[in-house]
């Protein structure tokens, strides 16, 4: 991979999403063109209802676009079967949702390890990797806690560990800090930044929060389902 000019891992071409509620049509995304490259630390911002979640869901193959094309690592998603999409999500995409990310009956360790287990990674390698990741997100010693024994911020850290465990091409995080207080949000952002710098994890996250936005190196601003501003900082 060329560090100077990395190839895009996500390409959106003329993305359109119209939700249909009975006779009513709700245009959520109205022609978005976008490229995200490996190693980015990108925020998608915009007012409520501007289409942030919709865009992330479509990139993550959780939802189908009404029109336009989505490429993940060069693969046109529309060409994949349901089970291929499921496998793509498992192997190439990490997800962190706003809240309640974890499976309540599994411990922090088991939650973080689940994707690796599904991939059939050997128990020993799995253990090593997950223990390392939980330490990276600052949860050393809490591996055996169940989600209800963890704070909201700690739960999000487990979710981050789970999302990056399988070395995905990109981690999509939809408002990962919306349910935690601002100092916890700061800490989560620091963890994500560190993982981005040291382990080259590509993050795309949505947020309302100006402080969170300020930590991003690229901010894509959505208004009414369109990109109104695409700002690369640094």
């Amino acid at each position: 991979m060329n560090a100077e000019n990395p190839k895009p891992i996500i390409v959106l071409e003329n993305l359109v999403k119209i939700y249909r509620q009975g006779k009513l049509e709700v245009p959520a995304v109205r022609g978005v063109n976008l490229e995200i490259k490996s190693g980015e630390f990108t925020a998608i911002s915009g007012p409520s209802g501007s289409g942030k979640t919709t865009v992330l869901n479509i990139i993550g193959a959780l939802d189908d676009p009404t029109d336009g094309k989505v490429f993940v690592e060069g693969i046109h998603l529309a060409s994949l079967s349901r089970s291929a999409l499921s496998k793509l999500r498992r192997d190439r995409i990490g997800f962190v949702f706003q809240a309640y990310n974890l499976i309540p009956v599994l411990t922090a360790f088991e939650n973080a390890e689940i994707v690796l287990a599904l991939q059939g990674v050997a128990v020993k390698d799995r253990r090593e990797r997950v223990m390392g990741l939980l330490a990276d997100v600052g949860l050393e010693g809490m591996e055996h806690r169940r989600p209800d024994q963890l704070s909201g911020g700690q739960q999000q850290r487990v979710a981050i560990a789970r999302a990056i465990a399988s070395n995905p091409a990109v981690v999509l995080a939809d408002e990962p800090t919306a349910n935690v207080d601002s100092s916890t949000a700061e800490k989560l952002l620091s963890i994500m930044e560190k993982l981005n710098r040291k382990q080259h994890v590509t993050f795309v996250f949505s947020t309302h929060d100006q402080k969170v936005m300020d930590r991003a190196r690229r901010i894509i601003h959505l208004v009414d389902g369109k990109i109104s501003n695409d700002e690369i900082r640094e």
Binding site: G60, V105, V115
Partner: protein
């Protein structure tokens, strides 16, 4: 193993609901096992009574006896045939049969006389054990007769009383003799109860002037030989005679027993369908309150198949526990019911469709009595879990995330 671990923990997430569900399943299983044991015992008992007291397994007649049941239609040389049958592993005994009138002091009634060889007959029939009062036939008492319960009532006679028997003998003369009631039978079956008179075969021959032959040979097969096969074999030994299995002789009874079995399975289906609804409800609740979780699993790339397996495994765990609990509880109850039974002596002497019925109703258990209800429970419960499991497996993550 991961699926099992998750399923196991999920099962205990809502402890109370799980326990109620398992209890309902165990109870249904327990009652169905006992019910199936009692029904089997009832049907067995009924079948035993028909066969042991009256019918035997197979009967042989002279070729046209069943069309024209007359005193003249006899099997000649029954002794040879009986020897051949015994050599082939069967028990057999000839009987003489004829109709007439029996009279007590004040009343009379139609009767069917049966002439039996008490020694030989005991190998094919248990009727000798079913004497209510008095004694069974005794070759030393040629004038002694044993009569049906209701015949005794209608003639108003009892042990020790005299009965006059009237008929037309084979030589056309008037058959007419005085007998002494030596025993009164317990309920055997409609026909015997109302008009049965058992006498020593020699006495019958003298009364009816029948010097040789028998009207009927009752055959018992070894329990392991299937009825159809035994009937064919006996028919080939008794070439030229008319051989019938008890099922052919009493098709209504046979089909009644079969349909009682059918009714038993129908009952299973009804009870287990009710259980299926309980399970369906419990599993639907368990799935719907976890929609978001299933959405997360699907989102991070867990295959529908794995989600399906998880929900089904949860059901299997609960069913397995219910089978263990219901099965273990069933064993002492089964032992009790098959050893001591339920005492129905207040209905004693009752007969059902003309068949004698033992007042102690005992269960009859075999491996099938247990496996039948268990397999049916498992099958129906899994069917009930199918919909919730598929529902969970095919949840769309985006829709599930909205759910909270």
């Amino acid at each position: 193993m991961r699926v099992f671990k998750m399923a196991w923990r999920n099962v205990w997430r809502n402890r109370r609901r799980t326990i109620v569900t398992i209890a309902a399943m165990s109870l249904a299983l327990f009652s169905m096992i006992q019910y199936s044991g009692l029904m089997t015992g009832y049907l067995h008992g009924m079948e035993r009574n028909i066969l042991d007291l009256e019918m035997g397994d197979i009967q042989i007649f002279a070729s046209d006896y069943l069309d024209k049941p007359s005193i003249y239609n006899r099997i000649e040389n029954p002794g040879d045939l009986i020897k051949k049958l015994e050599a082939a592993g069967y028990h057999a005994s000839g009987r003489l049969k004829g109709g007439g009138l029996a009279a007590g002091e004040n009343s009379s009634a139609g009767a069917v006389f049966r002439g039996v060889d008490p020694g030989q007959d005991a190998s094919v029939s248990d009727v000798y054990k079913h004497v209510l009062r008095g004694e069974w036939l005794d070759v030393g008492e040629p004038a002694g007769i044993v009569i049906g319960r209701r015949l005794a009532l209608s003639l108003d006679v009892d042990v020790g009383d005299e009965v006059v028997v009237l008929s037309q003998a084979a030589d056309g003369s008037m058959a007419n003799d005085l007998f002494k009631v030596q025993g009164v039978l317990k309920s055997i079956g409609e026909e015997v109860d109302r008009g049965g008179i058992y006498m020593i075969d020699q006495t019958f021959r003298e009364l009816m002037v029948v010097p040789d032959g028998v009207h009927q040979i009752i055959v018992r097969k070894p329990p392991t030989v299937p009825l159809d096969k035994a009937t064919d074999e006996v028919a080939s030994i008794a070439d030229g005679a008319d051989t019938r299995s008890w099922r052919q002789l009493t098709p209504t009874l046979a089909s009644m027993l079969d349909s009682s079995r059918g009714a038993m399975y129908f009952m299973f289906v009804i009870v287990f369908l009710a259980i299926a609804i309980v399970i369906l409800n419990a599993m639907l609740m368990a799935v719907f309150e976890r929609i978001r979780e299933f959405g997360i699993l699907k989102a991070i790339g867990v295959a529908p198949w794995v989600v399906f397996k998880t929900v089904i495994t949860e059901t299997i765990i609960q069913t397995g526990l219910a089978i263990a609990a219901g099965g273990i509880l069933s064993i002492p109850a089964a032992i009790y019911l098959s050893t001591y039974g339920i005492n129905l002596s207040s209905m004693s002497g009752a007969s059902i469709m003309g068949i004698a019925w033992d007042p102690i109703w005992k269960s009859s258990f075999s491996v099938q009595t247990f496996t039948g209800p268990v397999v049916m429970l498992a099958a129906i419960v899994l069917m009930a879990a199918l919909y919730p499991a598929l529902k969970a497996a095919f949840i769309r993550p985006v829709a599930a995330m909205h759910h909270r």
